[in-house]
Subunit: 205 residues, 4 copies
DNA sequence: TATGAATGAGCTTTCATTCAT
DNA sequence: AATGAATGAAAGCTCATTCAT
C-alpha cells in the first residue's frame, strides 16, 4: 500500500517535472519548485534520481517511451505506406492535445542546454523510427509505389523532418506562433493533416 | 588597459559568445568563460552589453541578420519558384559550413530556456520569410505551376519546415547525428540538395 | 546540514550583524563576513532575510525595539519630570555598557549611507518619544515647574538632543573620543549624569 | 592660465564630491559619477587624490576648514560668553542655508562608514573648539557668570552637543525630519535660535 | 523512510583603479 | 597632461545537493 503510493508519487514527480522542464528548460527549472508542485520533499526526489540531470533524462525517457508507443502503434496498425503516414500524422495531432509537455521535452534534447551526448541521444531516440520508416518506404518502392530516383532513406528523412516539425508546431511556443504566422490563428487540424499527407505523398511518389 | 581593437574586439566578443551560446545554451554559458575565450576582461562585456541576456540577444540578432541577408539574396536572385527553392537550399548548405554557430543560435530561441517572448521572437524572425514564400508560391500557382488543391500558405509552411530542418541538420549536434542515422556518416550534400528539391517540387506541384 | 539552534542561531545572526553593521556601516559590512562570524553559511542568512538591506533593517528594528523598551520603562516609572529625565539619562548610561552596538545602529540610520527613507525612519523611531517628552513637559509647565517663555516642544527637542548625544557619546567611536577630549579619558559616569540632569533642569525651568 | 583652470577645477571636484558624499555616503558615491558631474575625467581625480578615500578626506578637510573658519570668526568677534554662543548658533543657522553638504560631511565622519581612525579625526576636528569653549566658560565662571557647581568642560561639552545637533538638524535628512516632528514643518529659525540660547544660558548659569 | 534546513560553490554584476593613447 | 576603456577583485545572491533529525 505504501509501495503503491510511492509508485503514484514517482509518476507524479515525473509528470510535474516534465511539465516544468518543458515549460522552462533544464536550467530555469528548479528542484525545489518541482518538489513543491509534486507535494513531496526535495529529499524524496534525490532518493529516486541522482541529480537534476538524472531527473531530466528520466522525464525525457518517460516522454519518449510514451511517444514512441503511440507512434509505434500508429505505424504497426497501418496496412499501407500512405495509411502509416496518415496514422502517424493523426497520432501526433491527437497526442499533442494532452501531451504538449512530452513533445516539448523532445525538443529540449535537440538543443544544447542539457549537455547530453547528442550522438547517444539521437541513436536512442531516432534509431528505431528511422529504420522503420526507411524499411516501409523501401518496401513500397519495390511495389512501385515510390519513385525510383530517390533513396528510401532520404525520403524517410524528409518525411520524419516534416513529422518532427509537426510535433514542435503543435507543442512549443515558438513553433506554435510560427505556424500561426503561416496559417493564421485558428489552424484547422483536419485540413493540416490532409494537406501535409498530400504534400508528402506527392513528394514521395 | 588599452583601447585598441574596439571594433574588432567587439566583433570577437560577439562571435565567441555566439559560439558559446550555440554550443552550451544560455544558462550553461558563463560570462566569465566568454570573456576569457574572447581575451577580454569581464568588465568589458558589461561595457557593451547590459547583462548576459542582452549579450545573448545581441548574438541572436547578429546571427539572424547575417542569415536573413544570405537567404534574402538567394530568394531575390531567383527567377522562378524552383530556382528560389534550389537557391535557398544551396545557400543553407554553403552557409552552414562556416556559420554553424549562427544556425545554432537560431535553434536556441526555438527552445524555452531563454525565457524570451516566443511570440515576439517568431514574429520578428519568421514573419518576413513566411510572407515571401507564400507570395512566391501563390504567384506560381496562378501560373499553373502549383497544384490548386492546396493553400499556398500551407505549402510555404511545409517548405519552410523542411528548410528549417535542413538548417538544424547541418549545424546542431543532435540533428546532425540524426541525419547520419538516416543517411549514413558521409552525407553527400549535392545529392541531399537535389533530392530535397525534388521532394519539395513534387509535393508542391 | 542540521536544523538545530534555529531560534538561537537566528538571534546570533542578528547580534553578529548588528555588531558588524554598527562597527563598519552597511556597505563595508559583508554578508560573507557576517555569516562566517555567526558560524553559519551564507545561504542561511538569505533564508531568513531577503537581502542585505533586509538584514540591516531587521537589526535596526531589533535594536530600536530593545532600546525603546528600556527607555519606555524608564519614562513610565518616573513620578516627575525630573525623575523621568534622570531615569532616561541613567538608563542610557547603564544600557550603553552592554549594548553599544544597538546605539551604533541608531546612529547609522541617521546617516545617508543606507539610502533608507529618512522621513519614514524618523517618524517611526522618533515619533513616540517626541510626543511623550513634549507632553510631560507641557504637564509640568502647567504646574509651574517649567518656564513659560519657552515652547514645550522646543524644550523637549533640546532635551532629546542632549540625550541623543549621550547615546552616541557612550557608544560610537568618534563621539566617545570627542567626549574624552572634553572630559578627559576617564569619565565619571555618575558625575556626568548628575551634571547633565542639572544642566537640563536649569535650562528648562 | 592653465594653472587657474586647474585650481578652479580642483575646487569644483571638491565641491561636487562633497555634495555627492554628503548625499549618498562614501560607498554609494562613485568616482565615475563625481567625475562626470565635475566635467572632468576619472583620471584627473586620481591625479589629485590617491584614491576614493583620499578624496573623501579631502572633502572632509575642506568642509571642516570652512566650517571652522566661520565658527572661529563668530567666536572671536564675541565680547561675552552669551554673545559667543548667540554668534555660534546664528552662524550655524546662516551657514546651513548654503552649505548643507559641509555639515553632512561632518556627520558622515562621526559614522563608521569611512573606516577612518575615529580618535585622530575627533582630535583634529573637535580639539580646538573644545579648548576654546571650555576656556571661555572658565573665564566667565571666574567672573561669576557661570554656576560654580559644574565643571566648565562639562558645560562646554553640553553646549557643543546642542550645537552639533543643531548642525545636523539643519542639514541631514534624518535630523531635519526629526526636528519637524518636534517643532512642526515650518520651523521659525529666529525663535529656534533664541530659545536654544536661552536654554543654554539657563543651563549654564 | 521522509523531511527541508543548511551548505557553499559558483554565478552575475559592479566599480575603484590603472595606464596606453 | 588628460582621457576613459579596460581590468579584475570582490560583492550579493541562488540553488543543487547533503544529511541530521
Amino acid at each position: 500500500m505504501n509501495q503503491k503510493l510511492t509508485e503514484e508519487k514517482q509518476k507524479c514527480i515525473l509528470e510535474t517535472a516534465t511539465e516544468e522542464f518543458g515549460e522552462r528548460g533544464l536550467f530555469r527549472s528548479s528542484i525545489r519548485s518541482i518538489a513543491k508542485k509534486s507535494g513531496v520533499s526535495v529529499g524524496v526526489i534525490y532518493k529516486y534520481y541522482a541529480d537534476k540531470e538524472a531527473l531530466f533524462f528520466a522525464c525525457l525517457d518517460h516522454s519518449m517511451e510514451s511517444l514512441s508507443e503511440v507512434l509505434g502503434k500508429a505505424a504497426d496498425e497501418a496496412a499501407s505506406l500512405e495509411e502509416m503516414m496518415r496514422g502517424l500524422i493523426h497520432a501526433c495531432v491527437v497526442y499533442a492535445r494532452d501531451h504538449e509537455a512530452y513533445f516539448r521535452m523532445y525538443h529540449s534534447i535537440t538543443s544544447a542546454e542539457s549537455g547530453a551526448d547528442a550522438g547517444e541521444m539521437a541513436e536512442r531516440i531516432e534509431g528505431e523510427s528511422a529504420a522503420i520508416y526507411t524499411s516501409v518506404i523501401k518496401k513500397a518502392r519495390s511495389k512501385g509505389l515510390v519513385k525510383k530516383d530517390a533513396e528510401p532513406a532520404m525520403l524517410a528523412f524528409f518525411f520524419d523532418n516534416l513529422l518532427m516539425m509537426l510535433h514542435f508546431s503543435l507543442s512549443c511556443d515558438y513553433y506554435k506562433k510560427r505556424m500561426n504566422i503561416y496559417l493564421g490563428d485558428k489552424v484547422d487540424e483536419a485540413t493540416l493533416e490532409k494537406q501535409l499527407l498530400s504534400f508528402i505523398m506527392y513528394g514521395i511518389s
